[in-house]
């Protein structure tokens, strides 16, 4: 194998890059901080503007990753630091313990049913439902392996009392595991990789809506972020696709979407997050499909329907589904003590004065923020996105030779754009990889690496 490539981030962009590289017989290290690849797209129910289901199109790609022996997955891991230069970077990866020997675990999931700790907020459903202390991230997870959440595990993090008495508690999963894969004593390890090139695909997070005082996110029960809502409508979500209010478990009759939450706002982020207008439109349509009676309203500044089929999609939402679009900035949201309904106070630019309308569910179309706080020597833009060397002449290169950047971490963008860049970057990286010779690295199936 002549030279390998490190892909940081296992979202759709990272997956695409890894697949393209592997296809050319190049060894790829795919580092992902979560226990499964899939990234944000794995959270989505459907994708705009075609409304085709996210997992239908993503799952095959995720599965394909396993089919390439030359893709080495380093899950639950993060890059610690990078030294060296194009052709021979030295990367130190911190691999956090999963407390499960993934060479043995066959993802049967018995442990996740037997574990007595039942009240762990399920991060995959953004805390809208609970899971056990030992869990498999989500049904189509790749790799499909169990992980122990040490914070909640009674064995790994026993109550003070037990600690003092030096008792070891529980051990249920260990007892039930048919393959004897549980390893309570697993420690985090640092893996050193030598790679020829690096592709940064760390993507984005949602902006923390709690920073926006006037909306009261985190305080009001029936106020959701758009990603939370995505889980709510998803067939694999907390309520199996039932849209239910957090406060009383009832179907909402009126839902509002509020656009540009944290974007296009000098106080938070200047940039436009590019995905939210269509996401809100899609979610309004999904809401209509689930609850034909529901009233959907979108509060916007400009509707950005710029992509292929977007504007047609918007028109469909208006005509076919009767989604209401109101141009206006929402100044504040108030919760009604009794009904837990939400009162939206907005400036109707059309009438140009303050108006108030009551909803029983409100969804915030939250800005994205790049996952760019990386131990990498790359420059960032003023907005905190990874900076491109020369967008016109060298589209996917960072300011450091041999380090490429794709997806939302280089600027807000949707799935096709991310996938497009991924392929481009993969090809560039492949070139460097093929030219240089890197030391062979022997790797175990579970991603644990032994040098030599």
């Amino acid at each position: 194998m002549n030279g390998s490539v490190l892909v940081v981030g296992g979202g759709v962009a990272g997956i695409q890059a890894a697949l393209d590289l592997a296809e050319q017989g190049i060894e790829v290290f795919l580092v992902e901080k979560a226990p499964s690849i899939g990234g944000k797209m794995a959270y989505l129910d459907k994708t705009f503007p075609t409304l085709d289901c996210a997992s239908c199109i993503l799952a095959p790609k995720m599965a394909a990753v396993l089919r390439y022996p030359n893709i080495k997955l380093l899950m639950n891991s993060e890059v610690e630091d990078v030294t060296g230069r194009a052709g021979n970077f030295v990367v130190r990866v911190l691999k956090r313990p999963t407390y499960v020997d993934w060479t043995k675990c066959n993802g049967c999931g018995i442990c996740t049913q037997k574990c007595p700790v039942k009240n762990v907020p399920d991060d995959y459903n953004l805390g809208l439902s609970n899971r056990r202390a030992i869990y498999i991230m989500f049904p189509q997870a790749v790799p499909k392996k169990a992980v122990i959440d040490a914070r909640y595990c009674m064995r790994l993090n026993p109550p003070e009392k037990a600690k003092k008495e030096g008792k070891t508690l529980c051990g249920v999963c260990e007892r039930h595991c048919p393959t004897k894969a549980i390893e309570y004593e697993q420690k985090s390890e640092v893996i050193e990789l030598k790679v020829a090139a690096i592709i940064v695909a760390t993507g984005m997070e949602l902006y923390n809506a709690k920073n926006i005082p006037e909306y009261g996110y985190g305080v009001y029960q029936n106020l959701y972020t758009n990603l939370e809502f995505e889980r709510l409508v998803s067939a694999t979500g907390p309520s199996g696709g039932e849209i239910l209010r957090r406060s009383d478990g009832k179907h909402p009759k009126k839902i509002a979407w509020i656009q540009c939450v944290g974007s296009r706002d000098v106080r938070f982020n200047h940039y436009c997050s590019a995905y939210c207008c269509m996401a809100a439109t899609k979610q309004a349509i999904l809401a209509k499909e689930h609850l034909p009676e529901v009233q959907c309203t979108v509060y916007y500044m400009d509707i950005r329907a710029f992509g292929k089929g977007f504007n047609e999609f918007l028109e469909r939402a208006k005509r076919e589904f009767g989604v209401r679009y109101i141009r206006g900035k929402v100044v504040r949201i108030e919760e009604l003590a009794d009904t837990k309904n939400l009162r939206v106070v907005y400036e109707d630019t059309a009438e140009s004065y303050l108006r108030v309308e009551e909803y029983d569910m409100v969804v915030l179309s939250v800005a994205i923020t790049p996952n760019s706080r990386l131990p990498l020597p790359v420059e960032l833009t003023s907005d905190g996105f990874v900076k491109l060397k020369d967008p016109y002449l060298d589209p996917v290169s960072t300011t450091v030779e041999g380090i490429f950047v794709v997806g939302a971490v280089a600027g807000a963008k949707d799935i096709p754009d991310s996938v497009t860049e991924a392929s481009a970057a993969a090809a560039r990286a492949a070139l460097i990889a093929k030219r240089s010779m890197a030391r062979e690295v022997r790797v175990l199936a579970n991603g644990g690496v032994l040098n030599g």
């Binding site: 050319q24 049967c108 059309a350 096709p416 860049e421 481009a424």
Partner: protein, 649 residues
């Protein structure tokens, strides 16, 4: 076919299966099924020892079919295929019986689950009896690529490919490469379109692996991924590389036509240079308008002109094709917002030329005959279903381009009143900063919705009546110049493109990609890739990125020098096929065509193009077309076995 010897392997999967299904009973039952010589159960079939069990039986009991009753094929089909091939059995002689996801995990009554598992195994065995060995085929793949279109997307793609060591042929139908980007004054506040393009063109010039054909068209494309044969027609340029651009020919040329490279702002001769940094860097004669008077030939001192030159046909062999033929600007009809009725109403593209220092006005914004004191952009002209005959889509780049130009104008003429009359401002992503900047530059934004603005041309001057949505009032704006932010149309010659390359287009008229989300630069047909605005409106950056991506895809398809073809594809039985042609129409990949085999019409499957969906098999009226791995007989056997004990046939 030799005697069928099937081995059946029932997996406990710990308790996942064994907990509900009586695996022993299933294995015992399997032994009684026709063709089965051995049946075993084991705790984890996917584990090493489990796989070894199968391998040994294949050797010792010389099995020629294997059925594994365990989890979904999605999980372990590959695993077991590899296992049996390691034991010397063709890997396609495996059938999986999914008794976990489809049985033990969803049913709780032990009896019923066991009974179902037995039947699932019976079905798998029934199919297995009809399985055949299949071989992956490999076809040679040429490490060369044809790039259609010499705009930024095409050039980018070509440069990348050359960089990977591929031979690249750029086919451009105009006499120069560079495309429309070269004609955009400023693509962002700091960057001139012409600069970006000429930087790229320099690279092309210095690259031996790239061959450029200008004034050329693709007239025929045959073959398939890895081995396309492209027939080009090279229209005569009449001027060769001896040309020194002295320009004397241009002076004597009697023919004058509107100059498309300045979007009709001025005129050019029949012999001309498209623009300063045009490449190849010498004159060309527009064969459509030249009257062959011979004046130019006479004055040319370098014998660079030959009016007898004729169109040539050249044939190229390439592994893949990248389509990057771009778009056409929307053509406003006469009177649309006063277009064509007043010299003071121009299009965004004309404005871009005016702002270019290389322009006829040397970068001076002269509209009509003077620099206007006030100027208004009208957005969404021909886009978002705004006016009659407008396209339903958003053209994506007009807002940013308009705002960017507005800013430039404000920098040059701070006194000028600039209005932007819009529906929604589409400065998505980081372009938002331009929108902010425009605000700072005191550019006036005026929003309209359903009611479209009205342009009045009167002796007093130009007026725009618009219903200002944010204040809900009719207002009348007097302006001295109007810029129509026209959108993008599919290129005029897209029909020919479709006819030749067998791509298809979506409702809006642009070429359809294999998958809008996950395969945006691939056409459904293997080996054909898409870049730039041919799939729909994009800005220059996005087009360039698509160029790189398309190149990358082509590269990874061809890099091994050969293409492996999945064997589970369609196959014609020529003895049965009557060439009725039903299958040709249903194939989504245009992989089937009717060939004449010694006088008989026979359907022929282009193996490299077939993706193995099997819809041709279903539609074939005579059963001549069969989907290998999912043949009629295999699926019928499975169906019957699901319902009756006795076997099919």
């Amino acid at each position: 076919m030799d005697e069928v010897r099937i081995g059946v392997y029932v997996c406990h999967c710990g308790f996942n299966i064994a907990g509900v299904v009586d695996v022993k009973k299933v294995a015992e039952y399997a032994k009684t099924l026709p063709g089965v010589v051995v049946a075993r159960d084991y705790v984890f079939m996917c584990s090493e020892p489990g796989q070894d069990l199968i391998k040994e039986d294949i050797k010792n009991q010389n099995l020629n079919r294997v059925v594994v009753a365990s989890c979904s094929p999605a999980l372990h089909e590959i695993t077991f295929r590899t296992a049996i091939s390691e034991a010397g059995l063709n890997k396609y002689l495996l059938e999986m019986a999914n008794i976990r996801e489809h049985c033990s995990w969803v049913h709780h009554e032990k009896e019923k689950a066991t009974e179902k598992a037995m039947e699932i195994v019976r079905m798998a065995v029934a199919k297995a009896r009809y399985l055949e060995p299949l071989e992956e085929l490999e076809v040679e793949a040429k490490k060369s690529v044809l790039v259609l279109g010499g705009g930024v997307a095409g050039i980018r793609a070509a440069l990348e490919l050359a960089n990977y060591g591929f031979d690249v042929y750029i086919v451009e139908k105009s006499p120069t490469i560079g495309g429309k980007a070269a004609l955009i004054g400023y693509i962002d506040p700091k960057t001139k379109g012409a600069e970006v393009v000429s930087k790229m063109v320099e690279k092309i010039r210095d690259c031996p692996k790239i061959q450029v054909f200008t004034s050329a068209e693709l007239v025929q494309l045959t073959g398939s991924a890895g081995n396309y044969v492209a027939k080009l027609r090279l229209n005569p340029r009449f001027v060769n590389s001896r040309c020194t651009r002295c320009g004397e020919c241009e002076e004597v040329c009697p023919i004058e036509v509107s100059n498309e490279y300045n979007f009709g702002l001025d005129k050019r001769k029949a012999i001309f240079i498209p623009f300063k940094n045009a490449y190849p860097p010498y004159y060309a004669i527009d064969y459509r308008v030249c009257v062959k008077c011979g004046e130019c030939e006479k004055v040319c001192r370098y014998k660079a002109i030959n009016l007898k030159e004729e169109a040539k046909i050249v044939e190229l062999r390439v592994g893949a094709v990248i389509i990057a033929t771009g778009y056409d600007p929307y053509r406003p009809f006469k009177g649309e917002y006063g277009y064509g009725l007043s010299p003071n109403v121009i299009t965004l593209f004309q404005l871009e030329r005016l702002l270019d220092p290389e322009s006829p006005t040397k970068g001076e914004l002269i509209v009509g005959n003077k620099v206007p004191k006030s100027l208004a952009f009208i957005q969404c002209v021909g886009s978002r279903g705004t006016t009659l005959g407008a396209k339903s889509y958003c053209s994506r780049m007009c807002c940013t381009t308009a705002i960017n130009s507005a800013i430039k104008i404000k920098e040059k003429y701070p006194e000028m009143n600039v209005y932007i009359i819009y529906k929604d401002i589409m400065t998505y992503g980081s372009d938002e900063s331009l929108y902010e900047e425009a605000g700072k530059k005191l550019i006036n934004f005026i929003k309209f919705e359903e009611k479209i603005p009205k342009v009045t041309i009167s002796p007093e001057g130009l007026f725009i009546d618009v219903f200002e949505y944010t204040i809900q009032q009719e207002i009348r704006i007097p302006v001295e110049a109007i810029v129509l932010s026209i959108g993008m149309l599919p290129p005029r010659d897209i029909e020919e493109l479709i006819a030749v390359t067998r791509v298809s287009c979506g409702g809006e008229g642009f070429v359809r990609e294999a998958h809008l989300k996950l395969a945006p630069v691939e056409a459904p047909t293997k080996g054909i890739f898409l870049a730039g605005c041919i799939t729909g409106p994009k800005n220059i950056l996005e087009s360039i990125r698509m160029g790189s991506a398309a190149a990358a895809k082509a590269m990874s398809l061809l890099s091994k020098g050969k293409i492996t073809i999945e064997p589970m594809i369609a196959q014609v039985d020529e003895e049965r096929c009557s060439g009725c042609g039903i299958c040709v129409a249903v194939c989504p990949y245009s992989a089937i065509s009717i060939k004449s085999v010694n006088g008989d019409r026979i359907a022929k499957v282009e193996k490299a193009l077939c993706m193995g969906c099997g819809t041709c098999n279903a539609s074939c009226p005579s059963g001549a077309m069969q989907h290998l791995g999912f043949k009629d007989v295999q699926l019928l056997a499975q169906t019957v076995a699901a319902l009756r004990g006795e076997s099919y046939g």
